[in-house]
Symmetry: C2
Subunit: 463 residues, 2 copies
């Protein structure tokens, strides 16, 4: 888009010389995320304070310039991509942990704090912030809040949303709002805190975050097991809950994901249809007891090669196998489509079986892994754009995966957001009236539609 030179000058004056960029070389550091799609912004600013952000947004509001907030660029739905150009507000200069309150068990942070840095800072004080996505070494807390990021521990601890007590944010018109605080409970007015969490940067730009902390769990136990029949996984998960255990994590990989990991990490895994990893944490007597019970459930449901990690070192090895799923699949090359589907937990194994059947039908390579305890599945389709038939098949199959999930009462996304990748399928899950309501909320916050435009609703890829 064309931005008038006096507006550019004003933006530069607000952000300061070293924090305002329009040169192509710099912009290229801000025009991509983990979807590997690229969209050029016109300007990047790296403000240092809420006040600067407020002024930038007020100016852009007057001038009708789109704004896209951006964190660590690890998103898998394109949430931080400036699909309509305009200004990127990057949080590179807002990385301060403002307070760790070890009396109230809260912390106050700026959105640019990298998740892993925060984890380290609180662990040193014996505190625990459960949400810790796989992207932790790069993703920012602001991005995790905007996308309501999930992570492996969500079975027991819930998602990012469950740990956000308060927010400071700037509305598109530049007004600063303060929502919630350090209170564990708060029912004053509608829950705007939880409305902003997961709103994918489309309602307001978050500038401060107050999170809830827990005490560090005393102990943890990690188990791994393999199944020859995928569908047994459903009963395996039910049996764990039936035994009274609320596991921290129940993670899953299918055969193709295992094969990809084997070759990527140069390890050997048992020949099986599915791997299921279980972790429990908490009181040390409890986790020992629960680990024993889970071993029996592996046995009872016909798992093979199941074992309890003898120490944290071995547990880390189990986790590496699971955590390297995405990089291992990426390393297989070709073109890839990724979905972040959810189905009611018990239906997950049958759904996985079904997608493999469909993959055969469409002659596509498909791998699936994810959070079996939440019914949240990451699916990768590997194909080759260069073959037109392959491209058509892959895209049709991609849509079928959403369709089949919705048939089971599932959802288009569990933790990555709708962004631009799932936006074309929104109407599969939500009716007209529901979408109208979403739009009316968007309008209440952002009447001009300037904030992170092109996301969630009506995305049309103009690549």
């Amino acid at each position: 888009m064309v931005i008038k030179s006096e507006v550019l000058q004003k933006l530069k004056n607000i952000a300061g010389d070293g924090n305002f960029f329009t040169d192509k070389e710099t912009l290229q550091h801000f025009n991509y995320d983990a979807t590997e799609r690229r969209y050029m912004p016109d300007v990047v600013v790296t403000p240092k304070s809420t006040e600067e952000i407020s002024k930038i947004m007020e100016l852009c509001y007057q001038e009708n310039i789109p704004i896209t907030p951006q964190g660590g660029k690890t998103g898998l739905s394109g949430g931080c991509l400036p699909v309509k150009g305009g200004v990127i507000i990057s949080f590179k200069n807002m990385k301060n942990i403002l307070e760790i309150d070890d009396k109230n068990y809260t912390a106050t942070v700026e959105p640019g704090v990298v998740a892993a840095d925060f984890q380290k800072a609180i662990r040193d004080k014996g505190l625990f912030f459960p949400p810790d996505p796989s992207s932790t070494v790069e993703s920012t807390l602001g991005g995790n809040v905007a996308e309501n990021a999930g992570y492996t521990r969500a079975v027991k601890y819930g998602v990012t949303k469950d740990y956000i007590l308060g927010l400071e944010a700037v509305l598109p018109n530049g007004k600063v709002i303060h929502l919630g605080g350090k209170n564990i409970k708060d029912v004053t007015g509608y829950d705007l805190v939880r409305l902003l969490v997961g709103s994918e940067g489309t309602l307001a730009v978050i500038t401060k975050i107050i999170v809830k902390l827990l005490p560090l769990p005393e102990s943890r136990r990690t188990l791994i097991g393999y199944f020859d029949d995928m569908t047994i996984g459903a009963d395996f998960v039910v049996e764990i809950f039936k035994s009274g255990i609320i596991p921290t994590a129940i993670e899953f990989m299918d055969r193709m994901t295992m094969k990809a990991v084997e070759s990527y990490l140069n390890v050997e895994l048992p020949e099986a249809e599915a791997m299921i990893l279980v972790e429990v944490d908490g009181n040390k007597f409890a986790v020992d007891d629960e680990a024993e019970k889970i071993l029996k459930i592996y046995e009872k449901t016909g798992a093979k090669d199941f074992r309890l990690a003898i120490d944290q070192k071995e547990a880390d090895k189990f986790w590496i196998i699971r955590r390297e799923s995405l990089p291992s699949l990426k390393a297989k090359g070709g073109d890839q489509l990724e979905a972040d589907i959810v189905v009611p937990r018990y239906f997950l194994p049958a759904y996985v079986k079904n997608i493999h059947k469909l993959a055969d039908e469409y002659k596509c390579q498909v791998a699936a892994y994810g959070h079996a305890g939440d019914g949240n599945l990451h699916i990768t389709i590997i194909y080759h754009k260069s073959s037109f038939q392959d491209l058509v098949n892959a895209n049709e199959l991609f849509a079928r995966f959403y369709e089949e999930a919705i048939k089971l009462g599932g959802s288009l996304s569990g933790e990555h957001g709708i962004g631009i990748t799932a936006a074309p399928y929104l109407k599969m899950q939500l009716g007209e009236t529901e979408i109208e309501l979403l739009r009316s909320i968007k309008k209440a916050f952002d009447p001009k539609g300037l904030l992170n435009p092109g996301k969630i609703f009506d995305f049309k890829d103009e690549e």
Copy 2:
């Protein structure tokens, strides 16, 4: 208000003969709640289905008739009172538990199901729905969802909101919406499920609820202890978390509440400034270990008469003391004002000390009890309307309690809602921009302002 006779006839045709009431005697069964305020509706309907509710609401929308949804009338903020008259939709005929899904750990219910009935139905299947307010024998799940009810177990398990996965609801114009489902995770679009939970019946009428269930905890331990110095309570709570324990409940009563309970139940309690009850639940080895640790913390922080309940029977006795706080105070008679204040957890004991100081200043009787683990305090002011000075003092003091909480970063309500009782103080907690946002959301759902009018915003008591 005046409702045209042909509109009354239409309403009667929709609801059916035995489910439509305009006679004063019947209306009087629907014109009050636990606030003991009374507002007369013009009509009460007791529909049997979503379809009927949709038709009733469509008609009222055309005719500009206010609608107030009503559950068990146990609310303490006036949420179900028809302050502008019009139609009450009572859920007396929608009490079905539609499904208990013991594979996906969910249940689907109609809003009129009484909380205790639901608890019994799932307990029989080894399932657990943590939110269980003190009003459980009367309050309905619909009301608990509308108010985002809290309860004693919220320290560990979170509030009602954390267990609502899906909703069916009817918009003021009669359109039916379906939000969420049985999925544990779902980030498709803005989180309308959690926007409706706690919206106090002002955005849509909830007609179906899908809740998340957990396995029943294997075991529980309950402890009680007394403190001569209120402020020690702050460190007592921190010490529990520091020891790595996430207790199920940490409950609190002050001296005056204890005295009220003593005389109401005819029991003798130790002379003390504060009682603190702690409960832990979960794995049986864990709770034994945690109970030992908590006993040591009672000792370390200078509690007296502290003990671990030897069995569930004794635990029940501890709980009765705490649970009878509200009835015991109500039994003291006089006129009463009740607040449901929240402050950041660590500040609670100092806050309680402060309110007692203020009570002396204003020459009012004040009792406080509540959920120390959440920083959520219920305060009762007992006064006599008949004395004008007493009335003025009580109301000034009431406002001061809110003010002092807000100074500490607190909230007007933790679990009862704003309704009409806290509405006059809304501007203490929220700024103009924040309130404008709330109003714009209200408008998006209810452009004519017909649904549960007079709540949250601008309530003016015209008694």
